[in-house]
């Protein structure tokens, strides 16, 4: 037998066997945990897929097709002014790093061919934390304030960490010869303003479809809440007009989908989700039957959906099994979590940021896991610490970074990330 090839399936099968052999069947905790996994998955399916994940995939797909990555990278070249390079490096993660596997080549390229160590580490840190899908899901599931804190924390600390890295290793930096950057890419058919308006209409749909019910029953926020579907429809009409005017979509196609969607409102006036699905299905058919970049948009959105949805599904199941829904217990007792990461002490923040730094989170799975942890008593400060150190680093990630930067720089970077994440967790935990 060729053990070199066979040991992986062997340990996989043996591992699954051992799990089921020692499964404590019949115990209340296990049965509750299994139910929790199913309930949590069902809650995600009902609350987050149709109006949150699906539009988010369309936005992510649009970003990867319609925003030229090369046009962003050109601001990270060796001749760019320092301040611009740092700010672009911090922000561009929202556009470039929708998939975690794209972060490392970009990081290596910025370091070796472009703006150097500072902006490269700024990008490496901020990229995974500020990508659109991550921010949208964090704000939706874990609350708006944590979503904003995550974005703001990642952006500001990325610049600080980049600056410190550059300062510590400034001697080695100046010796490095600047290699050539890849050629900038082709131009877009639309102006920047037209593209911006197109993204704006989709972001409006996403924001207002997800508008939560406010606590008070009158006033401005309640007015927004009661008219959320009207605003969403207006944004959808705007998107339709933009598609006809600038994306060469035939007007009668949009008109048919619009009419169909309006009809669905008349048929089921109390079921906005049904209407939302009708409109989305129409958009998919329009994109699939067109041959230009709109088809590419659909393909890329589907690419994200296909890549991320299964991971998220497993992540939700695992989080439900181990941690349960908020207010319920899974396999892991709440008391353990409270003693490790409860409250806002220095030790719980530090623990959260160290664990986050070494553990690997597949794209977006940090959200259900954190939701489970917070439901079991994790403090808000440690939660932010985990969000800030988690997606940016993992053990496999560190090994790749080491092959690019060398051991010393990688060690300093990891140390900086862990300390920064813990400190921002403590600060955030003190305020909220």
């Amino acid at each position: 037998m060729n053990w070199k090839n066979e040991w992986k399936p062997f340990f996989l099968i043996a591992g699954i066997f051992l799990v089921f052999f020692y499964l404590p069947t019949g115990t209340v905790r296990l049965e509750n945990a299994l139910l929790e996994a199913v309930y949590l998955a069902s809650w995600y399916a009902r609350e987050h897929v149709i109006i949150c994940l699906i539009p988010a995939f369309f936005i992510a797909g649009a970003i990867s097709v319609f925003i030229s990555q090369a046009s962003v990278i050109k601001y990270l070249g060796p001749k760019t002014k320092r301040l611009i390079a740092y700010s672009v490096a911090a922000v561009s993660g929202s556009v470039l790093a929708v998939c975690s596997c794209t972060v490392l080549p970009l990081f290596s390229g910025i370091y070796k061919m472009g703006a150097g160590l500072g902006p490269a580490t700024a990008f490496l840190y901020a990229g995974p934390a500020v990508n659109v899908l991550a921010i949208i899901l964090t704000a939706r599931v874990l609350g708006l304030e944590l979503g904003i804190a995550r974005a703001v924390g990642a952006l500001s600390f990325s610049i600080i960490i980049g600056g410190i890295m550059h300062f510590i290793f400034r001697k080695e930096e100046s010796e490095k010869a600047a290699a050539k950057m890849p050629a900038p890419a082709p131009h877009s058919k639309r102006t920047l303003g037209q593209n911006a308006l197109y993204f704006f209409s989709m972001v409006l749909i996403l924001i207002f479809a997800n508008w939560g019910k406010p606590a008070e029953t009158d006033g401005f926020w309640n007015l927004v809440y009661t008219s959320k579907w009207t605003i969403t429809s207006a944004a959808a009409v705007l998107l339709g007009i933009i598609l006809i005017a600038w994306f060469n979509i035939k007007w009668w196609k949009i008109f048919l989908v619009g009419t169909g969607t309006a009809l669905s409102v008349l048929l089921f006036p109390d079921n906005p989700l049904f209407t939302f699905c009708t409109g989305t299905t129409g958009l998919i058919i329009i994109a699939a039957t067109s041959k230009n970049e709109t088809a590419e948009w659909l393909e890329s959105s589907w690419g994200f959906a296909k890549q991320i949805t299964p991971l998220l599904f497993y992540g939700v199941l695992a989080a439900g099994l181990c941690l349960g829904r908020p207010g319920h217990e899974g396999l892991i007792p709440s008391a353990w979590i409270q003693s490790l990461v409860g409250g806002n002490s220095i030790s719980s923040n530090l623990f959260a940021s160290v664990v986050g730094a070494f553990m690997y989170f597949a794209t977006l799975t940090e959200v259900p896991i954190l939701q489970g942890l917070m439901g079991n008593g994790m403090g808000k400060g440690p939660a932010l610490a985990l969000l800030l150190s988690g997606p940016a680093l993992s053990l496999p990630n560190m090994l790749v970074i080491r092959s690019v930067l060398g051991t010393k720089k990688t060690f300093v970077f990891v140390l900086l990330v862990i300390t920064m994440a813990a400190i921002s967790g403590i600060i955030y935990g003190n305020f909220f």
Binding site: Q69, C101, T102, P105, S108, K112, V400
Partner: protein, 76 residues
């Protein structure tokens, strides 16, 4: 002819690798298809967005999952 697929092992990279093999098979070309997975080698190609495809050491496409038909056009 040497075709290199640059990528760190993401799903898109392995699909591009399959498509390239398919394209070589269908167009009856003498060509070997290789994977380049080391990040420093990828950077030496001047590539920052993966997956990328290089023919005889020259980068032809970056950041796109080309279909086998598109690759055939690049090869001929």
């Amino acid at each position: 002819m040497k075709i290199e697929i640059l990528g760190t092992g993401c799903p898109k990279c392995s699909r591009l690798f399959e498509n390239a093999k398919q394209a070589v098979l269908e167009s009856n070309l003498e060509a070997e298809v290789l994977k380049v997975q080391d990040i420093n080698e990828i950077t030496n190609f001047g590539v920052m967005i993966i997956p990328a495809l290089a023919v005889n050491g020259e980068v032809k496409s970056t950041g796109k999952l080309l279909s086998s038909d598109e690759i055939k056009k690049l090869l001929t």
